[in-house]
Symmetry: C2
């Protein structure tokens, strides 16, 4: 390294990026098998003609992505692939429908205010009885029902929801505006449509549906539980795993 001031224009992509993709390629191609010790930071620094810090940043990122494991005093090692972590993007329903080029429509089927039953508490993850709102609604793509939504909202976490009718706007975006970000857990499964669901989705009873359940917390407090049911034909989820996403 000939010191500070090296121009960056000589490389089209950043050095960081180059190191990252070089190394992941070697791992992905199998050239560096699981268990293999990759060169030390300072060695890579010499190879790439850059400082240890730059290498360090790239390797730290690879470690976070799960491709390598770093051990002090020993070096960095290619990890045994175990679980395939994949990133699933769960979008807003209106966005999804509009992405298909179809007009979106929302319809409220029922709204109900009650004290949490045992089942409600199980779904929401509540430890005590609390007031809540239970909703059922439908999302249309063009003329066809696209998705059925069944939702519980914990009123002690979101008191404003008591005054809201949800007749015109879907509860999902409404909540996102008020509880802007939160931790969430998703459960994805398949079910056979029972009578009510089949009616709502205008499909045959017993036909398969893809179900996404989401539980949402805000600072440790359960906010909402929602079950989206999609007719099997109309929907699938895509998840990707790419180790060097930048």
């Amino acid at each position: 390294m000939d010191g500070i001031g090296k121009t960056m224009a000589e490389t089209a992509v950043s050095l960081h990026q180059r190191i990252l993709s070089d190394i992941s390629e070697r791992i992905l191609s199998g050239e560096w098998a699981p268990g293999h010790r990759i060169p030390f930071e300072h060695e890579l620094g010499i190879q790439y003609n850059c400082s240890r810090m730059t290498v360090n940043k790239a390797l730290s990122q690879l470690a976070k992505a799960g491709l390598i494991e770093r051990r002090r005093r020993s070096g960095s090692f290619v990890r045994q692939p175990q679980a395939q972590p994949a990133v699933l993007e769960i979008h807003d329903i209106r966005t999804e429908v509009e992405a298909l080029g179809l007009p979106y429509r929302y319809e409220l089927l029922s709204a109900d205010r009650r004290r949490a039953t045992g089942e409600d508490r199980g779904l929401l993850g509540l430890d005590a009885v609390a007031p809540l709102v239970a909703l059922q609604c439908r999302h249309f793509a063009g003329k066809r029902p696209f998705c059925h939504e069944r939702r519980l909202i914990n009123l002690s976490a979101v008191p404003d929801a008591a005054a809201e009718s949800f007749a015109a706007a879907a509860p999902g975006p409404w909540l996102l505006d008020r509880v802007p970000w939160s931790a969430a857990e998703h459960r994805i499964s398949a079910i056979a449509a029972d009578g009510d669901l089949a009616l709502a989705l205008e499909i045959q009873a017993g036909s398969p549906c893809l179900v996404i359940e989401r539980r949402t917390w805000n600072a440790e407090r359960p906010v909402t539980h929602v079950r989206f049911a999609y007719p099997a034909q109309s929907h699938s989820l895509v998840a990707r795993f790419t180790p060097n996403q930048g």
Copy 2:
């Protein structure tokens, strides 16, 4: 900042980590609403009594996690929540079955070697005709079929597969040993079991199944396409979203 040499023991967690969680907390709590401009790097540097580099690393990470958007000359802004990225862990089937405390058994139903048909090429993402192996097999949890697997393996990417019978060991782990790491795309959907699938899973024809399809690449080359079909009752997937995972 009183210069180099500040001891790190005074803070239990790293400064980087603290900035990261502080800021995401403010965003998650709604204190900083979408569109809000968060303080400039140098301002945060003064607030946290640290250098711009440290702030920069934390903010870059938040940007990569999708919580904020960074604009040169303008600053960093809280993003509108759009897609909820959730991490899905897809494990080995044997591991899953054994996690249930049930004995695992594998059974090969059929193995077939052929040149890729049009459909095969679509599934694998091949642009040219190539030899491949097509497999069907079952995974048992105790006495019940747990999962049906239908797989294509691209022989030009994995020539060794031609010599392998797959009678005793499942192709998934076998491939993992040889193609140690790879990029993958998962598609999750629900289907109604057709006659063959119903027979293999010992369920009624037409009953719902959860389907996971996975396409795997190794250095831009398609390696395998696999479709796992689970009887709806027996399986669900869990994905989590936690914004500041470190």
